[in-house]
């Protein structure tokens, strides 16, 4: 006696959260059954393994059919085939678009093209996440990217509107899209200590301050016809950043800057002498990073540069985080007192974001 066909269809679609998780994690039916057996469900319910197998198959089939709709979540809301309560719909979508930290760190900032997809095998081996799950996560990234890439308006809002994700998840996706678009390098060895959260934090700051969208929202220019885009960095801004070079190129300015910072911070930092000794190097590093951003190659290396030029020197001198904060605040603020420097607004736009990023990146 073999079961040829075995289905269960409810008027309200039954969703088992545990099975959904197993499905999302890319387990095969037999693996999922084995895992469910291990969870002790048979003892709890008095069911047999055959029942579990049939139940798992049913859920997998349902999820498979739902997957097409999950690719465009608003369709899930409007479709008529599956009657699912709204709270469950939200859960289905949220879980489907959720991703693993380990996975996202592997692909963050990479080009979301087919070429990368071939690397999914390697990622799967490396992270222990099933290839299936890697595929889903990668495809999610790519899908969201494609939909919002060319779209005007707030990146987060666009994602939320087209994929009906929670605020938290929409922000994460905004970061992923932003990183993929700008191809920031995140995979270098020295960046391994950084979490997705660190990058997402930086991405959010950059989107808020460094993109075209940030300009469009400026109150000085309400009728801006500029593409209101959050995905691309403001090219003009990047060009302008060259002007900051004067801060390190002009020796007087550099010295003045240093003395302003040192005067204020004297006695306030535990690593004052190290700071004093390193000031010019650090400042040069930070300003040069800005000046280089005109080249897209250098944009990609932004995080590598920041870590190399700032985080690592500070860390090797064992700066406490609080001292880093005090230093960066003072370093940014002091520029306002440099009479010869005319790019205060530019500096603030640059340094305001960079300060936030650096503080986030500064940890072990």
């Amino acid at each position: 006696m073999t079961s040829e066909l075995d289905i269960f269809v409810g008027n309200t679609t039954l969703i088992d959260e545990d099975v959904y998780r197993l499905w999302l994690d890319g387990y095969s039916v037999s693996d999922a059954v084995a895992l469910r057996v291990r969870s002790g469900i048979l003892e709890q319910t008095g069911a047999t393994a055959a029942v579990l197998q049939s139940d798992t198959m049913d859920h997998y089939r349902t999820f498979h059919m739902l997957e097409r709709l999950l690719h465009a979540p608003p369709k899930l809301l409007h479709q008529l085939i599956f009657q699912i309560p709204p709270s469950r719909q939200a859960l289905l979508i949220e879980r489907y678009y959720a991703f693993d930290e380990a996975f996202v760190r592997e692909v963050l900032g990479k080009k979301l093209s087919k070429g990368t997809k071939k690397d999914l095998d390697d990622i799967s081996t490396k992270t222990g996440i099933t290839l299936k799950s890697c595929r889903r996560q990668f495809d999610n990234f790519k899908r969201v990217f494609k939909v919002v890439e060319e779209m005007r308006g707030s990146l987060v809002d666009n994602i939320q509107q087209h994929f009906l994700l929670s605020d938290r998840l929409s922000r994460d996706y905004a970061a992923i899209v932003f990183f993929a678009n700008n191809r920031f390098e995140t995979g270098k060895k020295k960046l391994q200590y950084l979490s997705f959260g660190d990058f997402a934090f930086c991405a959010e700051l950059m989107i808020q301050n460094w993109t075209l969208g940030a300009v469009g929202e400026a109150p000085t220019d309400p009728d801006s016809q500029v593409d209101d885009m959050d995905v691309d960095l403001d090219k003009e801004f990047l060009q302008d950043l060259k002007e900051l070079k004067v801060l390190v190129a002009d020796k007087d300015l550099l010295d003045l800057h240093k003395s302003l910072v040192c005067t204020t911070l004297r006695g306030k930092l535990s690593i004052f002498s190290e700071m004093e000794a390193n000031f010019k190097n650090l400042s040069r590093g930070l300003v040069n990073v800005a000046a280089k951003l005109t080249h897209s190659k250098d944009v990609r290396d932004l995080f590598v540069d920041l870590v190399e030029k700032f985080v690592e020197p500070c860390r090797s001198d064992h700066w406490p985080l609080n001292d880093v904060r005090l230093f960066l605040n003072q370093y940014s603020a002091s520029v306002h007192s440099l009479d010869g420097f005319r790019h205060q607004a530019l500096w603030d736009r640059y340094m305001g974001t960079l300060r936030g990023c650096l503080l986030r990146l500064y940890h072990d």
């Binding site: 066909l5 289905i7 008027n11 409007h78 008529l80 709204p86």
Partner: protein, 1064 residues
């Protein structure tokens, strides 16, 4: 030109990409009704076209309005080649034709294609302007309401229940006509869908005409079925109960004026012969007196009968050229076939002395030694039933004659209802059923009397005569079904023989009700159990005892019925689903030989199914079955029998005796031991089941039963053991043997199997109950959480040396595993009850068995349940003592006629609490309603006639839909399971969309009548046909009603429920 149909195509959404190059679609819509077609403009390059068309107007006859579906086809415009069809929507506009139902159909409909399934949605608005037509000879029956619900719909009152209506329509099956030609399957399947839609429209119209002739205005319990006879064509047939319904303005008006079922019996003088004109069922009035015209031997024909010889009688006319037209069969059956029928069935009877009397389930004492003389006896009593019983008292005779007068001029006094207005059902005799094996041949000449119609008429006659044999004049809970395999067809009909109250069957009811007198104090809640037949002339051997409730009338020891549990029935404990499952191997044979083989097997099948049912019932410690449905399915090399019913313990019936096992070789020591071990196991199971289902009937001493005036000492005797008392009871019942004499003889492996299979049925896990009736006795505190589902399983048998035993085991496992799966899947709903569990078996191929289950899971409140249980135990104790009080008061009551208004009817308190599915408990412990969906309105579906915790405010019309889905890429669609899963989900979606478009939010009495699945894995192909129906309704949550009016009366129509609830 009495009607104008107006259609507007608004928009489409989620259309499929038809142009690969642009990833877009240039869609337009064709709207077709009858022979008229309109087209919208092409909406270029969009997957979400906004046509916003003008109003397309069709000026049509109302006849066409009833027959034709509105066809909407969505196409992709193609400049260079033929336009590609995206899909279709069929809209049945019937709901717009009666005044009280929907006024407009408007909403998003899934666009359906037989190959691709649902492909986007289309927004359509449909309206109908009807002009009054007073033409007496009109062919339409607009305005007759149809209900699938097998009870009087909730917001209506039955003025008259006219009776049985039936009709059938035949046609060539386009699938078979076209099979040899070069064609795309889609074209033929679409033609098939269209044809069936057309045929069912026509059928409904014709049934409607019959209803109008009977002066009714509605059909209740409408059941329409398709017989896909293959080469010989397509038969669409329907049965129903014609009624005159009144819309209720408030539910309170539904409360009938009288409480006792039999009060006004005598009031209607029996010479008040109802006017034949008002009651004639269609054109068949000449048959008015035929019930008396049977020859005595006719009643032998209850044996499932006739086969090959019948065939020779069917008219073999030369095939005449015929187009795909539709022909109506005359509804009056030719009676000439009677003689042949008789001959054949006598023959059958004589060569099977083991033949069980399967019609007389009323008290199925199914011992293997059913003798021929008993059969004769039954025949005699069947004839004599008109002549009133001596012992049964003059009342019974009177009643019988009266009902007779009301019913007998009807051709078939059948009712498809399973739930009745209070007082309608007087007595229940038992299950009557008839089967007949037929050979299908091509429907050659539709102008000749239709053979299909004659076949059914024959079966119905048989049913009618069985009912007579049981002293009954009506059959309730009546249904018909077929099972077809190749050219052999088994026709089955079954129902419950009953005596009805004529009040509902004729005009002038209200007056009759008002001036009623109490003739007999038939206590509410047990009257229907009292035997309708004559005690001394019993149609079959049965153990009769005095009713355990009123102690005045005789009751059988076991009662089998096809109806739902009457709302006023007194039940102890909870009920449970009981199934008998059986397979029999059959040699492969052709045509007549095959038909003979099948008809030879049938009696044995029936016998065994009933034995199983009886054993399982006893094992559960219960004494009555409701909702019994026995399905016999024929396959190439086997027959399957599946009987489902809900077992209960009726307080009025005696406690069931145990099951005794007897061995053949008593001297063998180890064998003895084995036997006694088995016996112990069985006894343990019975005890366990009694506990599980809370069956603890009050102990009753024999004195109580013996005499109406109890001894004062009797209270002290209340704790006597059950076995003791029941033995004594039977001793009093002198004419019959010991009741406990239900003996299973283990004399061969077969019987051993039986016992094993008895014990292998696993009870549902804790927190789960199941039944196949509408409501579960003992559970009343339903929450609003319901989940309707369909589950399908197909197993492949290993073809190697299959034996009957192995087959039985496979089938049993299949059903049990299916149930287990359901319990597991629905575990989050615990505590919950699976209601209306409907199993269907089919044998699509040689080694395939397909089981389809549709049911609804309803959560109930556990805390409430516990309270109820406690209260119940207390009450049953209370009752035991109260019973004696009642008896003491009895003589008083007899004089004062005050029983119904008894201030504290103890028995009633128990029942009402159970019978009320939407009791007050709901108001307190309702779970919060789920937040409303933002875009798509939730449409509930349920096979029940009600929605827990809600009140149905409007019936919008019948939903009757037929779909075919096919694929040539089975593997790609996830194999057979993926294919069918998607299809059933799509069917649900289309039903919901239609209901929503009618303005409804639920389908009640939903049923999946057919799910025919065929596959050809080698060709990577599969095909499935599904037919569903139900009633679209609008319901309002009781919580919302409460807000609207504090004075909301309880949303049901039981008498005296207020009194009952005070005591809970």
């Amino acid at each position: 030109m009495p009607g104008k149909l107006k259609v507007k195509i608004v928009a489409g959404r989620h259309l499929p990409v038809m142009d690969r190059a642009s990833d877009l679609t240039d869609a337009f819509v064709e709207v077709k009704f009858g022979n008229t077609t309109f087209k919208t403009d092409v909406y270029l390059k969009s997957l979400n076209p906004q046509w916003n068309s003008e109003w397309f107007k069709f000026e049509v006859d109302d006849e066409d309005l009833q027959d034709e579906p509105l066809q909407i086809t969505v196409l992709d415009h193609d400049t260079y080649s033929a336009n590609d069809a995206i899909g279709k929507v069929y809209i049945d506009i019937d709901p717009l034709l009666y005044s009280e139902a929907a006024t407009v159909i408007s909403g998003w409909f899934p666009i359906y294609d037989t190959i691709h399934g649902i492909r986007g949605e289309i927004n359509v608005i449909v309206k109908v302007d009807l002009f009054n037509d007073l033409n007496r000879f009109r062919q339409s029956s607009c305005g007759v309401k149809f209900f699938c619900t097998t009870s009087i719909p909730k917001c209506y009152r039955a003025v008259i229940i006219h009776g049985f209506v039936e009709e059938l329509v035949v046609n060539e099956d386009p699938e078979y006509q076209w099979i040899d030609r070069i064609r795309t399957p889609r074209a033929s399947n679409e033609a098939r869908q269209r044809l069936i839609s057309l045929m069912s429209g026509e059928l409904q119209r014709k049934i409607g005409l019959k209803v109008l002739e009977m002066r009714g205005n509605a059909v209740v319990g409408y059941l329409q079925c398709f017989d896909l006879e293959g080469e010989s064509g397509l038969v669409v047939r329907a049965i129903g109960t014609a009624c005159t319904l009144d819309k209720l303005s408030s539910p309170a008006a539904f409360l009938p004026a009288c409480n006792s079922p039999s009060k006004e019996m005598k009031e209607i003088p029996f010479n008040e012969d109802p006017n034949p004109n008002t009651h004639s069922s269609g054109p068949s009035t000449p048959l008015k007196n035929q019930t008396y015209s049977f020859s005595p031997s006719k009643s032998y024909s209850r044996q499932s009968s006739s086969s090959d010889t019948d065939l020779s009688l069917t008219p073999k006319t030369a095939p005449s050229p015929q187009g795909p037209r539709i022909y109506l069969c005359p509804s009056s059956p030719p009676l000439s076939c009677g003689s042949l029928h008789l001959k054949k069935s006598c023959l059958l009877l004589s060569d099977s002395s083991l033949a069980p009397h399967h019609c007389s389930l009323g008290s199925p004492v199914l011992r293997k030694s059913v003798s021929f003389s008993e059969e004769l006896f039954l025949a005699a009593s069947g004839m004599g039933s008109g002549s009133a019983g001596k012992e049964g008292g003059p009342f019974k005779a009177l009643l019988r004659q009266q009902t007779q007068s009301a019913l007998e001029q009807r051709e078939f006094p059948f009712f498809t209802l399973t739930v009745f207005p209070p007082g309608f059902l007087v007595h229940v005799g038992g299950v009557v059923s008839a089967r007949s094996v037929k050979l299908l041949d091509r429907i050659h000449n539709p102008d000749e009397p239709e053979t299909r119609d004659a076949w059914w008429a024959e079966i119905r006659q048989e049913i009618k005569s069985h009912a007579k044999a049981l002293g009954c004049h009506a059959v309730v809970g009546y249904s018909e079904s077929t099972s077809i395999c190749e050219e052999v067809c088994i026709l089955s009909a079954s129902g419950t023989a009953a005596v009805l109250n004529p009040r509902f069957l004729q005009d002038g009811t209200v007056e009759g009700c008002l001036e009623q007198r109490l003739e007999e104090n038939l206590p509410v809640g047990c009257g229907f159990c009292h035997i309708p037949y004559d005690e001394l002339n019993m149609p079959f051997p049965a153990h009769l005892t005095y009713c355990y409730n009123c102690r005045k009338q005789k009751v059988p020891d076991v009662l089998f019925t096809t109806i739902d549990l009457p709302t006023d029935a007194m039940v102890i404990g909870k009920g449970c689903l009981i199934q008998a499952r059986l397979c029999r191997l059959k040699k492969k044979a052709q045509a007549e030989a095959n038909a003979t083989a099948i008809s030879n097997l049938l009696p044995f099948m029936e016998y065994e199914v009933h034995t199983q049912l009886m054993n399982k019932l006893k094992l559960k410690g219960m004494n009555a079955l409701f909702g019994l449905r026995i399905q016999i399915t024929v396959g190439e090399n086997m027959l399957m029998g599946l009987a489902s019913a809900t077992g209960v313990y009726l307080a009025a019936l005696p406690a069931p005796g145990g099951i005794q096992i007897a061995g053949k070789t008593p001297n063998d020591g180890s064998y003895e031991q084995h036997i006694s071990h088995m016996q112990k196991k069985i006894n343990d199971t019975i005890a366990k089941n009694r506990e599980l289902y809370e069956i603890n009937p009050p102990e009753i001493s024999e004195e109580v039963i013996g005499s109406p005036i109890p001894e004062p000492r009797q209270r002290s005797r209340l704790l006597r053991s059950q076995s003791e008392s029941s033995d004594e009871v039977t001793e009093l019942d002198l004419s019959h043997g010991k009741k406990d004499a239900f003996v299973l003889e283990i004399d061969d492996t077969d019987a051993l199997e039986d016992v094993h299979s008895l014990l292998t049925d696993v009870p549902p896990p804790p927190g789960f109950y199941s039944c196949n009736t509408e409501i579960m006795p003992g559970i009343n505190n339903w929450t609003s959480e319901i989940q309707m589902f369909t589950s399908v399983r197909v197993i492949r048998l290993s073809s190697l040396n299959l034996t009957n035993q192995a087959l039985n085991k496979n089938f049993n496992d299949l059903c049990e595993n299916l149930l287990k799966s359901l319990y597991f899947k629905l575990r989050s709903m615990i505590p919950c009850c699976l209601c209306h569990v409907n199993f269907t078996v089919s044998l699509p191929e040689d080694e395939l068995i397909q089981v389809t289950v549709t049911a609804v899971a309803i959560t109930f409140d556990k805390n409430q349940a516990l309270q109820t249980t406690k209260a119940h135990i207390e009450k049953s104790l209370q009752r035991a003592s109260a019973d004696t009080e009642e008896l003491l008061q009895f003589p008083l009551e007899l004089c004062s006629d005050s029983l119904p208004s008894h201030p504290f009817p103890p028995a009633k308190a128990v029942t009402v609490e159970k019978a009320n599915p939407m009791g007050e408990g709901n108001f307190r412990n309702r779970s919060a309603p789920p937040c409303a969906s933002s875009t798509v309105g939730v449409v509930k579906m349920t096979p029940l006639s009600f929605i827990p915790g809600a009140k149905i405010t409007k019936y919008l019309g019948i939903i009757n839909m037929f779909f075919i889905r096919e694929t040539t890429s089975l593997r790609e669609e996830g194999g057979v399971s993926g294919f069918l899963h998607a299809f059933i989900a799509e069917v649900f979606a289309m039903v919901r969309a239609h209901v929503a478009a009618l303005g409804g939010n639920a389908v009640v009495s939903y049923i999946m009548k057919q799910c025919v699945f065929m596959e050809n894995p080698n060709k990577n192909q599969a095909q499935c046909l599904i037919n569903v129906s139900g009633d679209a309704v609008v319901f309002v949550r009781e919580s919302d009603l409460e807000v609207a009016s504090v004075q909301q009366p309880t949303a049901n129509c039981q008498p005296l429920c207020a009194g009952g609830e005070v005591t809970t």
